[in-house]
Symmetry: C2
Subunit: 160 residues, 2 copies
DNA sequence: AATGTTTTCCGCAGAAAATTTGGCTGCTAA
DNA sequence: TTAGCAGCCAAATTTTCTGCGGAAAACATT
């Protein structure tokens, strides 16, 4: 577990929202020289604290689409069936996210596809491509009130 | 709705996963000169097709934490109550995502916090800080099988 | 307090990248 | 045909990156 000082946290907080800021500007924002700043960023990258840089594509400005959240419940809670389901998920690019959870459901899926008919196809595939039983419940996303954005790191600052 | 050609899609596909690639390398990958490539990227940015660049922070390498998915059901489906709930959400930084959905639930929340006790506090806040009734169901994320990654844009290529 | 060690910092300068400029080509509409 | 426009490239210019040596700061030990 990497130790981060206040400056590292400031860097992370900025890069979470402005990943393409120039090193010079970043250095100025955190009150460091460019060379020191770059050194820290490189360390954060090689430590794996920064795992990737992503451009966020505003799909709405490109084409119509539908986002759904699906809850999945397996009838049998065996390791093999879970593994098989996870493997299946990874073959479907429209499933952009899958988490295993505790509670009444086993998985939450996030699925993005062009329209409902293609969603139905995927749903079929999820249900029928496996030789065990799953229950899938679909929820169409009607509004994104708060998008998955920057994680607030301020609570880690010293006292935290 | 912005028209995108094959080259734009290639650029987007690359930037989704490698947002900090240099313009020169990007240009080479899409077989353009650096100046043309930059021009396209700038256009995608000003069109809003690329809405932001994010560094992904690997929270696990920094500190222990818990991620939960919460389903929320409002007792009364009035506009005011929805607005109030959304406003409340926006005051809680640990709630990193909130979507409105159709179906048996009204909202899905994603919450990241240091531990379960702080999660409980937030849960309390969600339930009690409002003068109307909500039902919240919590699911602890045990595994992230597929993280929210690149959206597959290949279906948009020409025929799509 | 003095010493040694480690870490972090800065400024510099060459290398690399970004950005601007201007010109060429091909397309479209008048 | 030709003016207007959009896209492309090469070259020139500006800006940024980045490795290095040495200074400063932090820390531990004696």
């Amino acid at each position: 577990m990497t130790k981060l000082d206040r400056t590292d946290l400031k860097i992370l907080q900025i890069l979470q929202d402005e990943a393409r800021i120039t090193n010079q500007d970043l250095a100025e924002r955190v009150s460091l020289s460019p060379s020191s700043c770059l050194q820290r960023v490189r360390r954060l990258e090689s430590n794996g604290v920064i795992s990737a840089y992503h451009a966020k594509v505003n799909l709405a400005s490109v084409c119509r689409h539908v986002m759904c959240i699906a809850t999945v419940t397996m009838k049998n809670h065996t390791r093999e069936e879970f593994r098989a389901f996870e493997a299946l998920i990874n073959t479907i690019p429209e499933v952009v996210e899958c988490v295993t959870v505790s509670g009444e459901f086993d998985f939450f899926l996030r699925i993005i596809c062009p329209d409902m008919s293609s969603y139905l196809e995927i749903n079929e595939r999820l249900v029928s491509s496996v030789n065990y039983l799953v229950t899938i419940n679909t929820h169409v996303v009607m509004n994104e009130n708060k998008k998955f954005g920057a994680i607030d790191l301020s609570s880690l600052d010293e006292g935290g």
